[in-house]
C-alpha cells in the first residue's frame, strides 16, 4: 500500500485539480486536507458498496466477476457528483480496487483507505511546504520544474518510507 502513496500522491499534487496557490500556503493546506478527506470518504463508500453488493446473493457472481467495472462506474458517478477532477476519479478507483483485491474485511479495508488517504495528504502537505520554501530560495533555473519536483518527491519518499514500514 505504501507504493500507492508516493506515485498517486505525486500525481494528485501535480494534476489533482486546480493548482494550489503557493503564495497562500494556508489555503493550499486546507485544500489538500479537504481533498484527502474527500478521497477517503469516496474510497470508503466505494468499498462499502462493493461489500454490500457482494453480500447480496443474486448479485454475488456478477459482482465478483466484474469488480473493476462496478468499482469504476461507482467511482465515476461519485467523482462527477462531487465535481472532482478526472485524476481524482481514477485515483479513487485504483485505491479502492487495490484494497478490494486484498483478502481483508470491510473494517480493515476502511483502515487501509484511511491510511492511504492520510499518507497522500501528508505527502502533499510536505510537498506544498517544500515548494513554498523554494519560492524564497535562489533555485537555479536549470533545475526548476520537473527536476526539482522529482527531487522533492524522492526525498519525501525516503522520509515517509520509514513511517510507512511501521504501518503497512
Amino acid at each position: 500500500m505504501y507504493f500507492l502513496i508516493i506515485p498517486l500522491g505525486f500525481v494528485l499534487a501535480l494534476r489533482g485539480g486546480r493548482s494550489v496557490p503557493l503564495q497562500r500556503p494556508v489555503e493550499g493546506l486546507t485544500r489538500v486536507w479537504r481533498e484527502a478527506a474527500d478521497l477517503f470518504l469516496t474510497t470508503s463508500l466505494i468499498l462499502t458498496l462493493g461489500v454490500v453488493v457482494l453480500a447480496w446473493e443474486p448479485c454475488r457472481g456478477v459482482a465478483g466477476e466484474y469488480t473493476i467495472l462496478g468499482l469504476g462506474v461507482v467511482a465515476y458517478a461519485l467523482a462527477r457528483y462531487q465535481k472532482k477532477s478526472d485524476v481524482f476519479f481514477l485515483v479513487s478507483m485504483l485505491i479502492a480496487f487495490m484494497i478490494h483485491s486484498r483478502p481483508v474485511d470491510l473494517l480493515s479495508g476502511l483502515s487501509l483507505a484511511w491510511a492511504v488517504s492520510v499518507g497522500i495528504a501528508i505527502f502533499q502537505t510536505c510537498f506544498l511546504g517544500l515548494r513554498y520554501r523554494l519560492l524564497f530560495s535562489n533555485v537555479p533555473a536549470a533545475v526548476k520544474g520537473w527536476p526539482m519536483f522529482c527531487l522533492l518527491a524522492g526525498f519525501l519518499s525516503v522520509v515517509l518510507w520509514s513511517v510507512g514500514r511501521l504501518i503497512f
Partner: protein, 175 residues
C-alpha cells in the same frame, strides 16, 4: 514553477503508476507495450468516432471505454488497472475538453499522418522510457544492492536526473 503540458511531462506522469507494479523487467516491458498499443487503439477509435459523441458524452464514453478495457485485461491477464492512468496521461491534452471543437480535417490532409506520428512517437517513447527505468531498477536493486531502489525514491532521483538533462539540452538552450 508551472509544468508545461508537453510530451515529456505526460511521459513522466504516465510512468508514475508503473512504480506501483512489483514486476520484473519482462513483465514491466509487456505492460508498457500493452499501454502503447492500447493508446494507439484508443486514439484511432476516438479519432474515427468522435463526431458520433455529442457534447460532453465523449468524456463519459472515454472513461467507460477505459474501465471496460481495464476489466477485460484484468479478467484475461490479472494485470491491475493502474495502466489506465498511464493511458489517460498519454492521451492528447485537448482531447477531453468540451470547449475544444474538433476541426474538420480531410482524410488526405497532411495533418492526419502528423497527428498519428505524434501519437505513435508517444507510445514508442513511453515503452523505451519504461524499459530503461526497469533496467536501471534491476541493475541498481539486484545488481548493486542499493536499498533506495526498493522504494519509489531511487527511481524518482533517476527521473530527476533525466529531467535535468532533458531540460538542459545544449541545442535547446542555444535556441
Amino acid at each position: 514553477m508551472k509544468l508545461p503540458e508537453n510530451l515529456f511531462s505526460r511521459l513522466l506522469l504516465a510512468y508514475l503508476p508503473f512504480m506501483v507494479y512489483p514486476y520484473g523487467l519482462f513483465k514491466t516491458g509487456v505492460a508498457a507495450l500493452w499501454v502503447a498499443m492500447f493508446l494507439w487503439i484508443t486514439v484511432s477509435f476516438f479519432w474515427l468516432t468522435r463526431s458520433f459523441f455529442p457534447g460532453r458524452s465523449l468524456k463519459h464514453a472515454f472513461f467507460l471505454w477505459l474501465v471496460v478495457w481495464a476489466q477485460a485485461v484484468w479478467t484475461l491477464t490479472k494485470l491491475p488497472p493502474l495502466w489506465i492512468l498511464s493511458v489517460f496521461f498519454l492521451m492528447p491534452v485537448s482531447f477531453l475538453e468540451s470547449a475544444v471543437r474538433p476541426e474538420r480535417v480531410s482524410v488526405f490532409s497532411w495533418k492526419v499522418p502528423r497527428y498519428f506520428f505524434e501519437r505513435a512517437l508517444a507510445g514508442v517513447g513511453f515503452v523505451i522510457f519504461v524499459v530503461a527505468m526497469a533496467l536501471v531498477r534491476e541493475a541498481c536493486e539486484k545488481g548493486l544492492g542499493i536499498k533506495l531502489f526498493e522504494q519509489p525514491a531511487g527511481l524518482l532521483f533517476v527521473i530527476a536526473a533525466i529531467a535535468f538533462l532533458w531540460k538542459n539540452q545544449p541545442f535547446r538552450r542555444r535556441a
